[in-house]
């Protein structure tokens, strides 16, 4: 069964590239949200298999979104993979403390990014 993935990123170009990659190469269904707030809204309306979440976003950043997701029973079990350009050691430490499923750094290979996600989440490829 095809996986349903929600991509939350404020950069339109990134959203498009990610969704296209996952659909074309992973064969998954995707939807995207351009802000943290929109992402949280979308997360509760549908049963997602995973959420790819950007960190640096205006108004509501990835951390806020993640804690919102964790706070709600409908969303707290959805695995979250961070998709971020933040690569400093201090960032990594902070990510590790969050309890997310995994981190994928930007820029990523659009052809194999679906495999990275599947590996993180333990899905068969």
């Amino acid at each position: 069964m095809s996986k349903r993935i929600l991509v939350i990123d404020d950069e339109l170009d990134i959203r498009e590239v990610v969704c296209l990659s996952l659909e074309e190469f992973g064969g998954w269904q995707t939807d995207s949200a351009g802000s943290g707030w929109a992402g949280v809204q979308k997360a509760v309306t549908t049963a997602w298999d995973a959420i790819l979440l950007d960190i640096s976003m205006p108004d509501m950043d990835g951390f806020a979104v993640f804690s919102q997701l964790q706070a709600q029973p409908q969303t707290q079990t959805i695995p979250v993979v961070l998709l971020t350009a933040k690569v400093l050691p201090s960032d990594r430490d902070r990510f590790a403390a969050l309890g997310v499923a995994g981190v994928i750094t930007k820029p990523f290979n659009p052809v194999t990014v679906w495999q990275q996600v599947a590996q993180i989440l333990g899905w068969a490829t």
């Binding site: 170009d13 590239v17 350009a85 690569v87 400093l88 960032d91 930007k106 820029p107």
Partner: protein, 939 residues
């Protein structure tokens, strides 16, 4: 003058004893001698009296016989004309009266009878009987009974007794003295050649008719008298001498013949008395001669002598007593008694010897007793003295005092023992304290010395000995600098004595110096010296306490800091310089250190705190010493601090602690270094590193943002190209074009970003130096408007430009870039249909003040450019921060408005490099105005 107790006790005692004994001895001797002299005189008077009596008695015989015989003749009981019967009468009387030696009778008829007792008790007789035919004088020797006459000499013819001796016939003399008389005559009874002087009593006798009939005589030989005197003498050395007032000798007890017995050829001369007399002075006896000389020396009137005369005499080293006594009775003689003083004085001398011996024994006894007493008294006192001396010398073992039976001394001794016990205990206590103090002082990490009033060092602790390698040397104030090789820092001149802190301390002023260097022989060590005077209760300086330490490291730190300070702002430099010049250098130094300095005990109580304001002090800053330091820290930090302090004390190593905490809504970051100083004290240096952290964080953030800003377009480019490359979009050309467009857009965005970053980097690092040149502002404004006209039009924004005729000094490209940036921002944040104004106006000094633009770099004349929009406005709290990198009002702006987030930062750099200022004013919802100033070209 000091005396020993022993001498004081003994010497006066001895003097007293010797004096007393001497005086007693002398007085005893004198009184003895006096007594002896008196006794001698009495005795000698007695001897004289006795002799007088004996002589009186002696001469009683001749007198009695002469007188009685004369009476018998006168009475007719004896026939005077017939002398034969008289022979036996004379013999009987001579036998009866031993003192008699001669009896004679002569009568008017010329008859003469003379009987003499010889020395052998036989008799000799001379007779001239007138009835006999020849009338010669015959000599006979009779036996002891007076019988059997034997002629002993030739008869002498023509002898007339009445005319013998011829020149002074005794017969005639006797006839003239009817009462009788004494007279010396020369007797030839022993023979013509043996004349003898005889003392004769002549007594004339008369017939019944009163007619003179003859002379009776009885005599005694002077030699026999001498024997009598000899009997009367006291001893061998004594002499009794009888003399006549004329000085002629009568008799001596020495056995010497008191007359000249030389025979003379002429009869008359042979019997003449006077020529045979011998003066006392003619005596052959030495002592007698000496007596005669002594008498001549005193020349007494011998003829009228009434009282005995005593004469002292020294002969052949012997003393004699001489008495000259007149004799009583009818013999007008003088008796001379000579007695050697030794006769009396022997006993005296023996007594004197005994006295002296006794005195010496007494003296020795009393000296011994005195010595013993003195010793008995002084021994315990001396033992006290020794103990006292031992005490004062601080000898550990005080010799035991001696007990004594002298109550007062013993109670003194007991008192002393008690006191000494207490003193010893006190000394021990004191010593213990001293040791404790010394070990405490030795453990002090500061060098410490104590000096007395002369400057002599009394104490130097262990740290001090490391610095003053000579240790405690003999040196007064004047010699201190030379002895300890103290130099004025940076010179070879010995440190001036009067400036030495020790010497100033001795003058009573607390002193400080940090310009002293000590030469240890290996190197010069700079010292910091603090000195405080110690006063006695009389306000006299008694000690100077000196603490000093090696400040080599501080000097180095100071140099480092000095180097560092040169880079600091002018204000700090001036402040530091003025602080340097002040006397509170140390405090200034500490103040200059941006750290909290705290001496902290193991108990956590601060002992000394400097720069309390350097860090956040959570506790009561008014009384920082009251509570343990840990109370001033949040709990987990306090625990860690405690652990660090203990570890520093246990291991002796420096511990570091870095921590953050929240206070008054602000995050503070501090770094503490815990440096062990002593066994239970650490130095805590706390530095507020919040700023450093903030800078670090900002740097991290910047890198993070730059990374993010670079990676975001790269991600889009990489993604788009990656997808295109797989060819999955071959059958979807629209989508493929969209991807290509995306890649292109993001590439441009990347280029802008990189350019902006590089511009900014060049501007901030000063690597590009803007070349200022005069340029007409209107031209620059026109160029800028040209650059943005297209996008303004596209966004539906109207640009209103109000140029002025002014020439500014500036780099034209940079100014145009600034204007374009500001205009672009205005366009980006303006709603379609909005208006944007670009204006410029020259400014005066008053305007500059009013606008608070006066800065040092502001030129004398300048103009102000303004870009005003009607956009959404900027919150007041972000009006300043927007000029920093990536500090857009909204993070999303960079995506939506296509900015890099660096534009305003670049503008700021450019304006500031022109010596101008850039700022913004805004009303939310009504619009913002960005201003910047530019220098006008000097006319």
């Amino acid at each position: 003058m000091k005396f020993s107790l022993r001498n004081l006790l003994i010497v006066p005692f001895l003097v007293q004893v010797i004096g007393l004994t001497g005086i007693v001895g002398y007085l005893s001797y004198r009184s003895g001698e006096q007594a002896v002299v008196e006794m001698t005189q009495r005795l000698m008077a007695q001897i004289a009296q006795q002799a007088d009596a004996r002589l009186e008695e002696y001469f009683q015989g001749p007198r009695f016989v002469a007188e009685s015989t004369a009476y018998l003749l006168e009475a007719g009981h004896l026939a005077d004309d017939e002398l034969v019967p008289m022979e036996q009468y004379f013999v009987k009387h001579l036998q009866q009266f031993p003192e008699l030696t001669d009896l004679a009778i002569a009568n008017e008829a010329g008859a003469f009878l003379h009987v003499t007792r010889q020395a052998d008790q036989s008799f000799a007789m001379r007779q001239r009987y007138v009835r006999q035919q020849d009338g010669w004088l015959h000599h006979y020797r009779l036996d002891a009974e007076g019988l059997n006459p034997v002629p002993s000499d030739l008869p002498r013819r023509q002898y007339d007794p009445r005319r013998a001796p011829p020149e002074n016939p005794w017969y005639a003399t006797a006839r003239a003295n009817p009462d009788g008389l004494w007279r010396l005559v020369v007797s030839l009874e022993q023979g013509y050649d043996k004349p003898k002087l005889v003392m004769v009593r002549f007594m004339p006798f008369y017939g019944v008719d009163g007619k003179f009939k003859g002379v009776m005589s009885a005599g005694t030989q002077l030699v026999a008298l001498g024997a009598l005197l000899q009997e009367l003498t006291l001893g061998d050395s004594s002499q009794l001498l009888l003399i006549e007032p004329s000085g002629d000798l009568v008799a001596t007890s020495t056995g010497e013949q008191p007359f000249d017995s030389q025979v003379r050829a002429d009869y008359a001369q042979n019997v003449a008395v006077q020529p045979r007399r011998m003066a006392l002075t003619q005596s052959r006896d030495g002592l007698t001669q000496a007596v005669a000389a002594a008498l001549q020396g005193t020349s007494p009137d011998l003829h009228h002598l009434q009282q005995p005369i005593f004469l002292p005499l020294r002969y052949e080293s012997r003393r004699y007593f001489v008495t000259l006594t007149p004799l009583e009775g009818d013999l007008d003689w003088r008796l001379i008694t000579v007695v050697p003083a030794a006769e009396f004085m022997t006993a005296i001398y023996i007594n004197l010897g005994r006295t002296v011996l006794f005195c010496v024994l007494t003296l020795l006894g009393t000296i011994g007793l005195g010595l013993w007493t003195a010793n008995y008294i002084t021994r315990p006192i001396l033992s006290l003295q020794r103990a006292t001396q031992a005490l004062t010398e601080g000898t550990i073992q005080v010799p035991p005092t001696q007990s004594t039976s002298i109550q007062e001394v013993d109670s003194l001794r007991r008192g002393f023992d008690h006191m000494a016990g207490q003193l010893t205990a006190s000394f021990q206590n004191l010593k213990d304290r001293e040791n404790t103090l010394a070990s405490f002082l030795n453990s002090v990490p500061l060098a410490l010395s104590v000096h007395d009033q002369t400057g002599q060092m009394l104490f130097l602790n262990a740290k001090g000995k490391e610095l003053l390698v000579n240790g405690i040397a003999l040196a007064n104030s004047e010699q201190l600098a030379e002895t300890y090789r103290l130099y004025r820092a940076g010179s070879d001149a010995l440190y001036p004595t009067e400036d030495l802190p020790v010497v100033r301390g001795l003058r009573g002023e607390p002193a400080y110096a940090d310009d002293i260097e000590v030469d240890t022989g290996e190197r010069r060590i700079p010292l910091e010296v603090h000195t405080i005077p110690v006063f006695s209760s009389q306000e006299q300086v008694i000690y100077s306490i000196n603490t000093f330490q090696d400040i080599t490291e501080r000097r180095q730190a100071e140099r480092l800091r000095a180097n560092y300070e040169r880079e600091l702002e002018q204000q700090v430099a001036e402040q530091t310089a003025s602080l340097y010049a002040s006397e509170v250098t140390k405090q200034a130094l500490i103040n200059a250190i941006p750290d909290l300095l705290m001496r902290l005990g193991r108990d956590g109580l601060p002992r000394e705190i400097y720069n309390l304001g350097a860090v956040q002090w959570i506790g009561d800053a008014a009384e920082p010493y009251k509570a343990p330091m840990y109370d001033n820290l949040p709990e987990p930090i306090a625990q860690e601090r405690k652990r660090c302090v203990e570890q520093a004390l246990d291991t002796g190593t420096i511990q570091r602690q870095e921590y953050e905490f929240l206070r008054l809504g602000q995050v503070f970051c501090e770094e503490a270094r815990i440096i062990p100083v002593t066994e239970d004290e650490v130095l805590v240096v706390v530095r507020d590193i919040s700023d450093r952290h903030k800078i670090d964080r900002l740097k991290d953030e910047f890198i993070s943002i730059v990374s993010h800003e670079l990676r975001t377009p790269l991600t889009a480019i990489r993604g788009a190209l990656g997808i295109l490359e797989t060819g999955v979009l071959h059958d979807r050309p629209q989508k493929a074009r969209q991807m290509l467009h995306m890649a292109l857009n993001n590439t441009e965005r990347l280029i802008r970003l990189v350019n902006d970053i590089l511009d900014l980097e060049r501007l901030t690092s000063g690597r590009i130096d803007l070349k200022l040149e005069p340029c007409p502002l209107a031209d620059l404004m026109a160029l800028a408007v040209n650059g943005v006209e297209a996008i303004a039009m596209e966004a539906g924004i109207e640009l209103q430009v109000m140029p002025i005729d002014a020439v500014v000094m500036g780099a034209p490209d940079a100014i145009v870039q600034t204007l374009i940036n500001l205009l672009s921002n205005a366009i980006k944040f303006s709603e379609p249909g909005g208006k944007i104004w670009l204006m410029a106006e020259t400014m005066t000094d008053a305007d500059a003040n009013a606008w608070n633009l006066r800065t040092e770099s502001l030129p004398a004349s300048f103009l102000r450019v303004a870009v005003q929009d009607q956009g959404r406005g900027i919150p007041a709290d972000r009006l300043e921060i927007i000029f920093e990198r990536f500090q857009q009002v909204d993070v999303s702006d960079s995506r939506q408005r296509g900015g890099t987030g660096l534009g305003l930062a670049i503008c700021k750099q450019i304006v500031e490099q022109h010596g101008g200022k850039i700022w913004a004013e805004s009303q939310l919802g009504e619009g913002s105005t960005f201003y910047f100033t530019l220098p006008l070209k000097e006319l």
